[in-house]
Amino acid sequence: MTRIAVFLVCLVLSTTSALAQAKVSIEKLNAEWVAAFNKGDAKALAAMYSPDAYVLPAGAEMAKGHNAIEAFWRGAVKQFGDAKLTTVDIQSLGPGAAREIGTFSFKTKAQPPEQVTGKYVVVWRKMGGQWQLAADIWNMNK
């Protein structure tokens, strides 16, 4: 009985810490994503997605795979900068996947710059020990 209780406690602790670890990894990766975006490095952005990832941009057709995703971000970083991401919720979907919900803001590179804000969902998958974006979609509140 005691042994079962100890086992259950360990199980709960290990799942909790897996989610906590995923959260830490995802927040670190979001910081890397923002840094790459703000540098205009479309190649580095695309490399953060899984090879079969989908990006579903608001106002443009969906892009699948590294090449299409890199081309999409190359266009976007010409028009936008100063990106900020704020995680609202991360939920674990088993050991190798997580769903993140967040809000974003960035500024247009027009003169004067305009701020654009919205919300996003990312499905993260752990491939070969590395968390990658498997699906990325966003929209605006207005």
Binding site: Y54, L56, P57, A58, G59, A60, E61, M62, V88, D89, Q91, L93, G94, P95, G96, A97, R99, I101, K119, Y120, V121, V123, R125, A134, A135, I137, W138, N139, M140, N141, K142
Partner: protein
């Protein structure tokens, strides 16, 4: 022994179409969701979401939880109908979750009615043997 194996195989085959994270399964669920929507049954549409699901509508703030989701769909049903959703890709995430990408076509209830379309990403989660939407977000190509 042989009979047991046969029985088990039969059981597994019978369970598969309903439980596996396949395009066919998700398409069937989408058809059921669209049927509820087109009938104007917001409660039935909301019942397909998990208790604490998030919906991130294009052009409106995110909502969380079944009552808020039901209210949001009730409002949407006043503006559009003839919804038809098509699954494009399903990625199984562990044994009890799946990420799905797809598109929907619909008609606005304006005069004259206008045909429009959107793309979406949802995450399904199995709860008590049933697939439920735990997250839903969409946007337009334009």
């Amino acid at each position: 022994m042989k009979r047991e194996i046969l029985l088990l195989t039969g059981l597994m085959l019978a369970a598969m179409p309903a439980l596996a994270q396949t395009k066919a399964t998700m398409q069937k669920l989408n058809d059921r969701w669209a049927e509820a929507f087109n009938k104007g049954d917001a409660a039935a549409a909301a019942a397909m979401y998990t208790e604490d699901a998030y919906v991130l509508p294009a052009g409106a703030a995110m909502v969380k939880g079944r009552p808020a989701i039901e209210a949001m769909w009730r409002e949407n049903m006043r503006q559009i109908d003839n919804v038809k959703c098509t699954t494009i890709d399903v990625k199984p995430l562990g044994g009890s979750a799946a990420a799905e990408i797809g598109t929907c076509s619909f008609k606005t209830k304006a005069q004259p009615p206008r045909d429009d379309a959107l793309k979406y990403a949802v995450v399904w989660r199995k709860e008590g043997g049933q697939w439920k939407l735990m997250q839903d977000i969409w946007n337009s190509d334009k």
